[in-house]
């Protein structure tokens, strides 16, 4: 018997093994797994790996001051949610904030100083340098000689009230002719008017205890203030009755949810407010102490009765009964009347805001629970008032250097507003922005700043809040090397303009000082995100602990401010400038019925001026959840009056210009009104090479009163 292994044996072995293998799961499993191989192609990304952790911080995309809890993998945030039990936002974020951690990877992120060659469509992006900016600044000093700056310098601070804002103000205070500006839109416009009427600062809305809210177009349920706070009031305490009356021409998301929608003709807010005042006065619904507290009671009363109710009803497009009912509803319980500002449509005109503020006073809402309550400022603000001059109030063509700290977030305004304020030819815009936005594209110098969640920031009191608050936004992402901290840039610019020696504290020092000031005041409570509960500040002793807690996402909230003793009011101003304005408004003839008006509409944090996370395409582009920039919504009759019967491309024309837009028909809209969506551009599709377009706002000229909400327009088929 031979033990030699022949080739034949080997073949037999191989063949037998192959057959045997077929009976085992191995080949089948392998074949099956090839399915997975077709998945692992280079086009799908590798998922991040690493330890999972949760880090708390604050969102600084808007002044809302929401606490965020970031789920992180290997230290990188991959998902955000609201910090549970947070005193400001109650654990909720808005849709934009939910994707806040994507901003750092924004396709329109700027990584070096640059500028566009011009403001034309075909302009190119070219590199610029900080040195060139500073030398042009010092050149502008030299050109006029001496130490006088060549014209004035302005800083437009998109989020006033921060410690950094104070540093800006400090710098500007040493430069003659300089001006500190705030963006034109302001959710606190009603409170601002009340401040002027009462002469007392520090007010907040007590939504938590109110029964009736009359909102003149304020997008209360669509991002107003701190969305989590509003949502908590509206939806989380269902047994507590709340009546929301929304007065606006557009059936907005807030109007959809409101208990009552008053389809108010555009521009008649003041008329409605005065008509309501008239009903209150006529039916004796004012608290008895109000006539005593109002200095110009008679003048105001006269003004309120100037327009008969029926005439007001006709002007506003509302039935008389509705006006009477609303007035009674407001007087019947604690109430708040607030003026709105559509984030896209811009602020209400001040005349209307004044009338709305007066209405609050007539209702006796001031310093009443469930009304407008006193709110003291957070400690440490002392030196400078957080208020700046609204951009629209600056004299035209007066500004040589316009420095914009981060492109306006949340609100948009027409670029023509900036243009009108700049000096002819010599005016320069410096935009400090992490991303390319239409405003940045409009600037002469674009300086990259750290992206959202990349730098240590602070969050102050949110608009309309009943109590002051303060927290830190600890960076969740590393800062990129190229980005410039505005705080470092300010002394350099100051020096270039000939005023050396500004504050030279680091951002962290500045914020630590503020924290120490708050700590020293020993008031309020501090929220502990880990525990999900707040503790009294006084029980905490170490400033270091306080600081560390803030870094970990803690938030300080002031105690309720006790009501002030009976405040006195001057409704129409000391020299009564508002009497003429309100009279003019009441007697202004209504627009002719065949005149179309264009009203820009938008959504906070996602308007054409600011930057939006790439994922926002889900709402704007990949669904019709929200209207994409360049969409015009109109009632079919409106379109028919312009000779258009179907949706599609149309041309819009106003006195500012002409533009192509996408018409969408919606029978739910008010006839005669064109609602132009001021949405964001779709980011993913864009590259840095092309300047983002301003959109429909370019068609909206800024009126004398600083508003651009209503523009007569024409529409024709494209």
């Amino acid at each position: 018997m031979s033990n030699r292994i022949t080739r034949r044996n080997l073949f037999q072995l191989a063949g037998g093994s192959a057959l045997g293998m077929l009976l085992s799961p191995v080949p089948w499993k392998l074949l099956d797994d090839s399915a997975i191989w077709t998945q692992n192609w280079s086009l799908t990304p590798k998922l991040p790996r690493g330890p999972i952790s949760i880090r708390n911080s604050h969102c600084t995309l808007c002044p809302g001051g929401c606490g965020i809890a970031a789920r992180c993998v290997g230290g990188h945030p991959y998902g955000l949610r609201g910090t549970g039990q947070h005193p400001v936002n109650s654990g909720f974020l808005c849709a934009v904030g939910l994707a806040g951690h994507h901003y750092a990877y924004h396709p329109l992120r700027i990584d070096a100083p640059c500028r566009f060659t011009g403001r034309e469509e075909d302009s190119r992006l070219i590199p610029a340098s900080l040195e060139a900016l500073l030398s042009e600044m010092s050149g502008s000093r030299n050109s006029t000689g001496g130490s006088r700056p060549g014209g004035s310098i302005a800083i437009l601070d998109s989020r006033p009230g921060r410690s950094v804002s104070q540093a800006y103000q400090e710098m500007l205070s040493r430069i003659p002719g300089s001006v500190y500006l705030t963006p034109p839109s302001n959710e606190e416009s009603t409170l601002e008017e009340i401040r002027q009427i009462s002469g007392v600062d520090g007010w907040g809305f007590d939504f938590e205890n109110t029964h009736t809210i009359l909102s003149f177009g304020a997008p209360l349920l669509d991002g107003w203030g701190t969305p989590g706070r509003i949502a908590r009031r509206f939806f989380h305490r269902s047994p507590k009755e709340l009546i929301l009356i929304q007065a606006e021409s557009y059936r907005s998301r807030t109007a959809v949810q409101a208990s009552r929608w008053l389809a108010l003709r555009p521009g008649t807010e003041a008329v409605l407010a005065m008509a309501l005042a008239q009903v209150l006065l006529q039916d004796g619904l004012c608290p008895t102490d109000i006539p005593v507290r109002v200095a110009d009671w008679q003048e105001f009363k006269e003004l309120a009765f100037r327009l008969p109710i029926a005439a007001a009803a006709e002007k506003t497009g509302l039935p008389v009964s509705a006006i009477v009912e609303v007035a009674h509803a407001l007087a019947g319980s604690s109430s708040i009347v607030l003026g709105g500002c559509d984030p896209g449509g811009g602020p209400l005109d001040r005349t209307a805001s004044r009338a709305i503020a007066c209405l609050n006073i007539l209702l006796g809402n001031i310093d009443q629970p469930g009304g407008i309550i006193s709110r003291r400022e957070a400690p440490g603000v002392g030196l400078h008032s957080p208020r700046g001059l609204p951009l629209s109030d600056v004299a035209d063509h007066s500004i040589r250097w316009m420095i914009i700290d981060s492109a306006a977030s949340g609100y948009s305004f027409p670029l023509s507003l900036l243009q009108h304020k700049l000096m002819h030819d010599k005016g320069r815009i410096v935009c400090l922005s992490p991303y390319m936005t239409p405003i940045a594209a409009y600037a002469d110098y674009i300086i990259p700043t750290p992206a959202h969640l990349e730098s240590l920031e602070e969050v102050g009191t949110p608009p309309g809040a009943p109590a002051s608050s303060w927290g830190l936004s600890a960076p969740l992402l590393p800062r990129t090397a190229q980005s410039v901290d505005p705080l470092d840039l300010i002394p350099k610019m100051s020096e270039a303009l000939g005023f050396p020696g500004g504050p030279n504290t680091s951002r962290q020092e500045l914020l630590k000082q503020r924290a120490a000031a708050i700590m020293a005041a020993r008031q309020g409570t501090v929220f502990h995100p880990g525990k999900g509960a707040a503790v009294k500040v006084s029980t905490r002793t170490g400033t270091g602990d306080f600081w560390n807690l803030l870094l970990e996402g803690g938030c300080w909230v002031d105690d309720p401010t006790p009501p002030r003793p009976a405040t006195r009011f001057t409704m129409l101003g000391k020299e009564q400038p508002w009497r003429e304005r309100l009279t003019a408004r009441l007697e202004q003839p209504g627009p002719s019925p065949d005149q179309l008006v264009l009203m820009p509409v938008g959504w906070k944090n996602a308007t054409s001026s600011g930057s939006v996370p790439p994922m926002i395409s889900k709402l704007f582009q990949e669904s019709d959840c929200r209207s994409l920039a360049g969409t015009v919504l109109a009632h079919p009759d409106t379109a028919a009056s312009a000779g258009i019967s179907s949706e599609g491309k149309v041309r819009l024309q106003t006195r500012s210009g002409e533009m192509e837009a996408d018409l969408k028909l919606d029978p739910a809209l008010m006839p005669g009104v064109l609602h132009g969506a001021v949405g964001p551009c779709v980011n993913q599709a864009q590259t840095l090479r092309q300047a983002p377009a301003e959109g429909l706002l370019a068609l909206c000229p800024v009126e004398e009163d600083g508003s651009w909400r209503i523009t007569p327009a024409q529409m024709k088929k494209a």
Partner: protein, 279 residues
């Protein structure tokens, strides 16, 4: 699909559906395998010549497939069901049996001329225009008949099988080329090639017929040859009418030698194919 891949559960639906479809696949596969296997067997059994002819035969025009007894007017209408192999034809046995015995072929000489063609009746004719003449016991000469010779004319090339090659009745005999037309000549009988002739010799092949099955029943003989020739002329006329660009045989068809030369535009390929029973 396999139980160990994913959580697959066999249900009645699976059994039924997959059962049916694997049966279908199996049927298709088996059918093809069977055809392939049969093909292999056919080659083993040397049936390829026969089967090729069978395939060709199916594609012949109905006129070409007429039974010899229809041509000779003994039956009214009959299409050959046996690919011209009368040896296996029951009808032939019946029809031929009723007739005077075929007997040995007549001697050459008498009535050799017919319709201007030389059709000696001392030999047997095959439907593919070959004749078979016994040279000596078991050895036969095979040649082209006058009809065919006139059609083809002098061949430019003749491709005869080498001695020793086995021939099958109705299988391929040899090939001839005239200008660009290649004609396949059918072998009239079974046997082994033992000698090669040529146009000059008057015959092309010398064949030793198989001892077994050496029946010549399938070959035409005697009177029926003439009616067949008439039929062939008729067919030629028809073929020429359709493919010969209007050319026709003069007055009842006196075939000239080397018809091919007469009209170079005629589709000789088609005409010759038709006459030599090519598909």
């Amino acid at each position: 699909m396999f139980p160990w891949v994913y959580e697959f559960r066999w249900t009645t639906g699976h059994l039924l559906f997959l059962g049916i479809f694997f049966s279908v696949l199996l049927t298709i596969g088996l059918t093809v395998v069977r055809a392939a296997w049969k093909t292999y067997r056919d080659f083993q059994d040397q049936k390829q010549e026969h089967l090729s002819w069978k395939a060709d035969f199916e594609d012949l025009s109905p006129l070409a497939r007429s039974c010899r007894h229809e041509i000779s007017g003994k039956v009214r209408r009959r299409s050959c069901p046996n690919e011209f192999d009368c040896r296996v034809c029951a009808n032939h046995r019946v029809t031929a049996g009723r007739l005077p015995s075929a007997g040995p072929p007549a001697r050459r000489g008498a009535d050799a001329g017919f319709c201007g063609l030389d059709v000696p009746l001392d030999r047997l004719y095959h439907r593919g225009h070959t004749w078979v003449k016994e040279e000596r016991e078991g050895v036969y000469l095979i040649g082209l008949d006058d009809f065919a010779s006139r059609l083809i004319g002098p061949p430019d090339q003749v491709d005869l099988p080498a001695p020793g090659t086995r021939l099958q009745a109705n299988g391929k005999g040899w090939r001839m080329r005239r200008q660009s037309t290649i004609v396949r000549i059918l072998s009239p009988l079974d046997g082994e090639v033992i000698g090669q002739g040529g146009a000059q010799q008057g015959w092309y092949l010398k064949v030793r017929a198989d001892s077994r099955g050496n029946k010549m029943d399938h070959l035409l003989r005697g009177e029926e040859v003439r009616s067949w020739v008439l039929r062939e002329l008729e067919r030629l006329q028809m073929a020429l009418a359709t493919d010969g660009v209007g050319m026709s045989l003069a007055d009842g068809g006196e075939l000239v030698y080397d018809v091919t030369l007469q009209d170079p535009h005629a589709d000789w390929d088609s005409v010759l194919g038709e006459m030599f029973l090519q598909a």
